[in-house]
């Protein structure tokens, strides 16, 4: 992370970036399995609460917008790092992480209110599939936030510069992927009930 080694590769693509694309491919299967299970078990719960009783589309629309905006911040952060503008890079990196944290705060609030309304992991299949799917996504966002904050601290220390643009680009790949997964979850779980 401390130094960018520009070496010749057979495909002309940075090795770390290629590894990350492979990782994202693998993650598609992970989320694919979780989302498929959610769909297979849709309407199979034998007791409530059911999705339409409890899902708050306006609230989640706001968190979805928040996460989308964080992707925009990420794009701006990478552009700033690439042109060597570290002052703005720090701002955008922090904003990306901050919006990620807002999203997580929203998820904590959502989970807590669902539990108060009687939807738990154990209550029914909807609860189990919903919490494991969105929880896995939330765990991914948490990892992303930690990663972004790490980069932000490195930038504050002056240890992140244009030479690390690839590192920031890969962080961005991860962040955008997690965002895209959320778009799918929001559509499948919240919008198409």
């Amino acid at each position: 992370m401390t130094h960018a080694s520009v070496t010749h590769t057979s495909m002309g693509l940075d090795s770390r970036k290629m590894a990350f694309w492979a990782f994202i491919g693998s993650e598609c299967l992970l989320f694919g399995s979780l989302i498929s299970t959610y769909l297979v078990y849709k309407g199979k719960s034998v007791v409530g609460p059911y999705p339409h009783d409890i899902l708050n589309i306006p609230f989640t629309s706001v968190s979805t917008f928040d996460l989308l905006m964080s992707s925009l911040m990420m794009v701006l952060a990478l552009a700033a790092v690439q042109r060597g503008d570290m002052r703005w890079a720090k701002v955008w990196l922090f904003m990306t992480a901050l919006l990620g944290m807002f999203f997580l705060g929203g998820q904590v609030y959502e989970f807590t209110s669902f539990v108060h309304e009687g939807l738990t992991l154990q209550r029914n299949l909807f609860g189990a599939t919903f919490f494991v799917l969105t929880g896995t996504h939330g765990a991914h966002v948490t990892v992303g936030v930690l990663w972004l904050l790490t980069l932000w601290v490195r930038a504050l220390q002056g240890k992140l510069g244009p030479a690390n643009a690839m590192t920031v680009e890969i962080t961005g790949l991860y962040w955008h992927f997690v965002d895209v997964v959320w778009i799918v979850i929001f559509t499948v779980v919240y919008l198409i009930q």
Binding site: S10, A22, E27, T37, N124, L125
Partner: protein, 614 residues
Amino acid sequence: MTHAAVHAQPAAPPAPRGWTSWLTTTDHKRIGLLYFWTAFAFFLVGGVEALLIRLQLAQPNGHVVSAETYNQLFTMHGTTMVFLALMPLSASFFNYIVPLQIGARDVAFPRLNAFSYWVFLLGGLFLNASWLVGPLFHAGRWNVAPDAGWFGYANLTERQFSPGPNIDFWVLGLQILGISSLAAGFNFIVTILNLRAPGLKMMRLPTFSWMTLVTQFLIITAFPVITVGLVFLMFDRFFGTHFYLPQAGGTPILWQHLFWLFGHPEVYILILPAMGIVSEVLPTFARKPLFGYVVVVYSGILIGFMGWGVWSHHMFSVGLGPVADSVFGATTMLIAVPTGVKIFNWIATLWGGDIRPTAALHFAVGFIAMFIIGGLSGVSHASPPADLQQTDTYYVVAHIHYVLFGGTIQGLFAGIYYWWPKMTGRLLDERLGKWHFWLQFVGLNLAFFPMHFIGLLGMPRRIYTYAPELGVSTLNLVSTVGAFLIAAALLVFLVNVARTRRSGARAPNDPWGGATLEWSIPSPPPVYNFSVIPTVESRMPRWRTEHHAPMADPPAVPPAPIHVPAGSRWPLVAALGLPILALAPLTHTLWLAFAGAAVLLFGIYRWAFEPFEV
């Protein structure tokens, strides 16, 4: 972890010494050896489990072990052989041989490679600890090993039916091992695609490296699916969800789908590397190029794709309906086509060749013959009505052992005899090697062929004993004798290894006249592998072809300084976090979860910010 300035280094860096250097090594060759010996040790453990199973079944109404112990033995035998023996034995060749075949100095991510190994070792130890730690769970010593079969069918694995820690060991151990396989998968995909020597186009890539690449794609796509299946099972067991429980509307069939969606690609993860090895050994010892290289490569890729479309043939007896049964029956028959194509290409490679019947070639030809038998019984499962007669009988056990022992193990032994001189610098004894082959060949057929009849005569698998009235007593005794012959063959192999280590003939760069890059460098190779990175002009760079003279071997002494990275301890530290994390649910101790996560994070951060140059 300081790194000396490049100019201060001698042209040929010295090989690291001392046992601690093995803990921090990032050299793909040393990691390959670690994989080999660890996996071989687990292979012997799985073998002892098999012998105990066969002792129990040698006679009707046997009482060598109890029914409970028997359940643990067959579960751990299957789990060990698949995840701790065959996969990592293949991985030892991925590690040692692939970078040499593609003309690279190491894998793309050497520290990630070390991480994969340590996670594999720790996951294997975690699983096998279940044999010994019964008293800690207020149970007998031999009572808490996993006991629901290597496929762990729900809802047998639920807390309700398996209240003890047995299944906890299984589910947590497999999660740990999955991380190892995934990390290695990303690493080798990038290594093979990105670290090829100049001129080594994809269609010049040695077949073993090609099959490794296909295998890695299967690993990174199949393992997430079982990860999700296991996560659901963990939630059911530890947090009281009902993913696989019918009383809450769930279905155990979901587990079967998730498991076999992983499980069938896994079959190809186990066999494709062996097919790659055989595709290297046959041309070398027939002194002929592989017949139909392009077709063999494309068949391997096709098998990789089609392997995703056949999983429900493991589930015909569930009653998925005539449409599903017909489709999966048809796809299963279809996948035999690319497999058959490969077999004909191997036979055609031998045809008219200048054959040198080395031990490696014996195993490679043995692979073809036995894999045909396993493939044919496999096609017989493809027909749902026939499969219903075979499901859960010893016929299926016969099939899987012809494919995985007659196939994968023999293929791996072909690789062991072929690459041993490259990996250790000494040639295994050929005479003992042939003894090993014939003993094992006779043993495996005695052990596994009768199982076809035992199964068709009605003996179910996974049942700890049988009645004399079933009429399978003699066949079972023959099978047990065969199992002990295999054990004797493995003993011959170990004697061969010990004698070779002491007084084996020194191996030159190329004892066999091989066509690929690994034979152009010393045996064992220096830390930096290639003194000069070769330029590849043909599919068989070391052989004379119509258009190309054989390549010149790289010079013995590097003409320019080569920087070799120092090792790193942080992959091991990060890996240690995982079993600690897994202990938390096993012992219901929350602070262990925080401790494990802390160790993992600490290791990852130190690793990320370590000065490390490749």
